[in-house]
């Protein structure tokens, strides 16, 4: 396939994915908007007003970057894992496997589709947050790069999960038992300065902490970790996970007999 044909195949996958999650918007776009609005009302307004300042900002302003990032992470991941696993389950993945689309285009297409949903939700949550607080962007390039790379990373993660999953339970195990705890403990709702030294050290092993703080630095200008270390970590994870995803695809793991 020449470059133009490859681009056509790539854009076909991306558009199919976008069409899929917009077609079922009550399942994909609406729930995170409702959930995040509840977070803003309960944690930001009701409880946040009694907490006072955190990291030099009122509590609502402090948690907004973390909540946006949480929505981006969970939706980027969920889009790819549910879409690709459904294709496996319905066997429509065979449409791709019999075609000449190279594995790296399949991965790129699904990751872009996941990013489209994750970033789309990110925009929706950001707009909702404006009803509760004022957002002043400290470093726009940092915001954009961090959120795009984080979305890509979790989309790749979702793809690997979908390849390895053999039943629907396997699709929800990682988001429920790995992603959610890591996100909640990743400094979305608090600064790790509040933790004892030991738990601060443990928190530093949580990759989501770097993403939340990199994003928070971009918006508020404060971070528990060096934002450039955050970017480096995200990039390294993307490279490693993409390599694993391509290896699994080449072996036909979960998709070829």
């Amino acid at each position: 396939m020449n470059a133009q044909a490859l681009f056509t195949a790539y854009s076909t996958i991306v558009l199919r994915e976008i069409r899929r999650f917009t077609r079922i918007w009550p399942q994909t776009l609406l729930p995170p908007a409702v959930t995040m609005t509840l977070y803003f009302i309960i944690f930001g307004n009701l409880i946040g007003s009694r907490i006072g300042e955190m990291g030099g900002f009122d509590y609502m302003s402090f948690i907004v970057p973390g909540l946006i990032m949480m929505a981006v992470i969970t939706n980027s991941y969920a889009n790819v894992v549910s879409s690709f696993f459904s294709m496996k389950f319905q066997r429509s993945v065979e449409e791709l496997l019999v075609s000449p689309v190279p594995n790296w285009v399949i991965l790129a297409g699904y990751v872009t589709g996941g990013m489209a949903r994750g970033l789309g939700i990110g925009v929706i949550v950001t707009l909702l947050s404006l009803a509760f607080t004022q957002l002043k962007i400290h470093n726009l390039p940092m915001v954009v790069v961090t959120v795009i790379l984080t979305s890509a990373l979790f989309a790749v993660g979702g793809f690997i999960n979908a390849l390895l999953a053999t039943k629907f339970d396997d699709v929800s195990i990682v988001p429920t038992f790995v992603l959610t705890p890591l996100t909640y403990l990743g400094g979305v709702f608090y600064s790790i300065d509040m933790l004892p030294d030991f738990w601060q050290g443990v928190s530093m092993a949580n990759p989501i902490l770097y993403m939340v703080n990199g994003f928070r630095f971009g918006i508020l200008g404060v971070s528990d970790v060096n934002p450039f270390v955050s970017l480096g970590m995200i990039l390294a994870f993307i490279v490693v996970l993409s390599f694993i995803a391509l290896k699994l695809l080449a072996r036909g793991k979960g998709i070829r007999h």
């Binding site: 065979e94 019999v98 075609s99 000449p100």
Partner: protein, 316 residues
């Protein structure tokens, strides 16, 4: 001339240890209409699955129009259209989208894909259903949708795994006509089927696979010539009380108006009619008892029956 499909020493052992293919050699000429027949579990779908990249081979070589799937997989796939046995499209997508998306995977831009999709959806009688979600289609329509999807990139080799399973006779006949037209226009076709009448009506060459081995690979004509016995059913004008004595033939009374006569290779049917006429028995119509190819197929598979029994015992 390059073969449309060439398979050499193909083996497949699944993770469970089951040896599905034990060294298959197969060649399909360009322009052929080829049938791959065999009982359930014989290795037909595994063979086609390997050709289509849905199954990973254990050993051997496969090439499509000269393109080795190990070294030129992308080129091989460009020449290949696949109609699988089971429905494998997204049931929630619309008919037109399913076909154009498949074209997109082959690098065909949407404008061109739309033209091709319209052509095949019209030919297969699905154009009126183009905006219908696939789950709303009948079984026969779903089968035709898979054929349209397989043809949208104009492949030179079309592989159909049980294409008419579960469709009514009228639709099956119209699908046969469509496939014959595709073949006349130059598309090489390979099909597997359980309807041996289908293989006899459509195909020029036939391979029979059993227990992961090709037990026969020849032309349909040559295969049918091996048929040593055919049974004819003769409808008589008057009801008979018992079967007449026919010298040189075995004759049974199937029904009071139906005679069943075994005719061996080399015997003339005229002799049957002459003897019946001498006994004042008038025949008003005649047909063969079973599909000829079906009889041969059953006989060949039965020859492998001892090994089948041994295998089953071995597994237990």
């Amino acid at each position: 001339m390059t073969h449309a499909l060439k398979i050499e020493g193909l083996t497949k052992t699944y993770d469970s240890g089951f040896e599905a293919l034990k060294g298959i050699d197969l060649q399909v000429a360009q322009g052929d209409f080829f049938a791959l027949l065999g009982p359930n579990g014989a290795g037909k779908s595994t063979t086609l699955g390997i050709v289509c990249s849905l199954v990973t081979k254990s050993a051997g070589k496969v090439s499509v129009f000269g393109y080795d799937i190990d070294t030129h997989l992308s080129d091989a796939k460009l020449h290949l259209g696949v109609v699988p046995q089971e429905f494998n499209f997204n049931q929630f997508e619309k008919v037109f989208d399913i076909v154009t998306i498949q074209a997109g995977y082959y690098g065909i831009p949407l404008k061109k894909a739309a033209v091709s999709a319209e052509k095949y959806l019209k030919k297969l009688g699905l154009w009126d259903k183009r905006n219908t979600p696939a789950r709303m289609l009948s079984g026969g329509m779903k089968r035709r949708l898979m054929i349209a999807r397989a043809l949208v990139h104009e492949p030179k080799l079309l592989i159909l795994d049980e294409p008419t399973a579960g469709v009514d006779i009228e639709l099956r006949r119209s699908m046969w006509s469509f496939l014959e037209e595709m073949n006349r226009q130059g598309t090489t076709i390979i099909l597997t089927t359980h309807y041996l009448e289908e293989a006899e009506a459509l195909c020029r060459n036939i391979a029979i696979i059993d227990h992961g081995r090709i037990v026969r690979n020849t032309s349909k004509r040559e295969l049918l010539q091996q048929l040593s016995l055919e049974t004819f059913l003769l409808d008589t004008r008057v009801a008979l009380e018992e079967a007449p004595e026919l010298e040189g033939f075995t004759c049974r009374l199937d029904d009071e108006n139906v005679l069943e006569v075994d005719v061996h290779k080399g015997q003339a049917l005229n002799d049957v009619f002459m003897q019946l006429e001498q006994q004042n028995i008038q025949v008003v119509s005649m047909r063969t008892k079973a599909n000829r190819l079906e009889e041969l197929f059953i006989r060949m598979v039965e020859q492998n029956a001892p090994s089948r029994a041994e295998k089953t015992e071995g597994r237990a």
